[in-house]
Amino acid sequence: MAPTPGPTTTTERRAQTPSGQQSFVLYLPALLLLTIFFVLPYLYLLYMSFMTHTSGAPYIRDFTFENYAETVRDPFNWEIIWQTLRFGILTTLITLLLSYPLAYHMARASSAIKGLLMIMVLAPLLVGIVIRSYGWMILLADNGLINQAAAGLGIGPFQLMYNETGVMIGLVHIYMPFMVLSLLGSLQTIDPDIERAARSLGAGAWSAFWRVTWPLSLPGVTSGTVLVFVLTVSSYVIPSLLGGYKVLTLPLLVVQTVSELFDWPLGSAMALVFFAITVAIIAAYLKLMDRAMRGVI
């Protein structure tokens, strides 16, 4: 189904016009793959959300708005949607708070140690999300390392996982590298001399930071927060492993509806409603940040 490199390159050269045009044949495999297995399935998901569920089959071809009505009508769904968004907002804020000093420090580090720091930030990304959750389970369990240490100090035990605390710790940990990389992109472009100039003109350390560095880093803050928010509200592994199915988020509910209750129409409608809410929140947020940035830069 995919072309081998040989024929691809021959076609490419043969089809090259003097102006350096490339043959469309090169894009064809990607176009077919993405159209058939990405665009079509999403359109089909939309179609499915208007079908009717029956107990005998996942769906029958009977057009209805009932799935959307049911999604919006059920207060339980709204509770889960709100819970998921709350996780998203809190995780994003905590991640930003923790990533900023890290990125700031790295942007100012000498190039000799920068490589090492970069590897330490990137390394977690190379380890699968299930494995990282497992690491947290060893640390946070009732008889885990943290509670052992607490017992040594004569305090605890603390309930650190199979609840919201565990989920939050896991989410912040998993998505921090993305935030650090986004912030670093912005912070690296800020000339340290600008901050130094503010200081020499009499600004205190805090005021120099808030009035110079922070506003200039807003593009990185914006991209980092959007990225982490999107990843958090759609995450599945962390809420299920560290929440122990006691913490329900929308992705869990949708997967349950689709693969356990086999109610494909309702699952599709729920997924699309939540996707629309997420997109709307991000659009509003980007507009807000855009206005904030125009004010300061």
Binding site: T4, T8, L34, L98, H105, V130, Y236
Partner: protein
């Protein structure tokens, strides 16, 4: 910087704690794998390979480990060829649909993978190939890996000086010779970085696998996930450690081939 000594000390302390936070769960998993006890205690009870032996005796884990590697290799080959070809077209064409084609290429990245998984699951059943889970997994993983190859190869192609190719052609080199002697060596870094990202993306992929895996085609992360729902004895730590070693080996080989810098540049593309 003119920050006070105390300010700098505070920043260093905070940053050190944050790096510990980032690395702790990974280091802990590796330590647990080599610890002889059922639970990890400090100080560790002693060095042991018993959990690795238990892994080798566990058929589901060994099977899914091998399956994950096979799947990742197939996906890497497909994504690298399709993504590289598409990058050549998009970077070098002057089609007015160029930006739309570029957007289509990277569109699997911003949408939640779990949603793509659900859409694919329903779609595959609708067209009647729902039960061929190997095919479904290959398609799903390739979709998610494709943007990385496309982005890394595009990055090197944008900076590519095409007069080098023209010079080779003018000196009498055929299209094949030009491609293999001139173009490929120069963009090699981008292609290999993209391939590594594709491999790791597939090897660590979870949401897509969750929805598309079937009996006998369970990738390792999913196997591990199912195991961890009921117990977390250190067999899981041994499996995780082997999986981390696998990734490190892939990255080190890349390092030897093209240098880590290009890998990092790729990640930032």
């Amino acid at each position: 910087m003119e920050y006070s000594r105390r300010g700098r000390l505070l920043l260093t302390t905070v940053v050190t704690i944050l790096y510990l936070f980032l690395l702790a769960p990974i280091v802990i998993v590796v330590i647990a794998a080599f610890n002889s006890g059922e639970y990890l205690r400090f100080p560790p009870e002693g060095f042991s390979l018993r959990w690795f032996r238990k892994f080798l005796d566990s058929e589901p884990f060994v099977d899914s480990f091998i399956f994950s590697i096979e799947l990742a290799v197939i996906v890497t080959i497909l994504a690298t060829i399709i993504g590289t070809a598409a990058a050549f077209y998009v970077v070098r064409s002057s089609s007015r649909y160029r930006s739309a084609l570029k957007l289509l290429m990277i569109s699997p990245l911003p949408v939640p993978a779990i949603l793509t998984g659900i859409a694919l699951l329903i779609f595959f059943y609708a067209v009647g190939i729902g039960t061929n889970s190997l095919f479904n997994l290959i398609i799903g993983h390739t979709l998610i890996s494709l943007p990385y190859v496309f982005l890394t190869v595009s990055t090197v192609l944008v900076g590519f000086n095409r007069s080098l190719e023209e010079a080779a052609r003018n000196l009498g080199a055929g299209p094949w010779t030009t491609f293999f002697q001139i173009t490929l060596p120069i963009i090699k870094g981008g292609i290999i970085s993209g391939a590594v990202f594709a491999f790791i993306t597939s090897f660590d992929q979870f949401p897509i696998s969750l929805l598309l895996a079937g009996v006998g085609t369970t990738p390792l992360p999913l196997q591990l996930f199912d195991y961890l729902r009921f117990s977390f004895d250190p067999t899981a730590a041994a499996v995780s450690t082997l999986s981390i070693v696998m990734t490190v080996v892939v990255v080190l080989i890349t390092e030897r081939l093209v240098g880590l810098e290009s890998l990092y540049r790729g990640s930032n593309a």
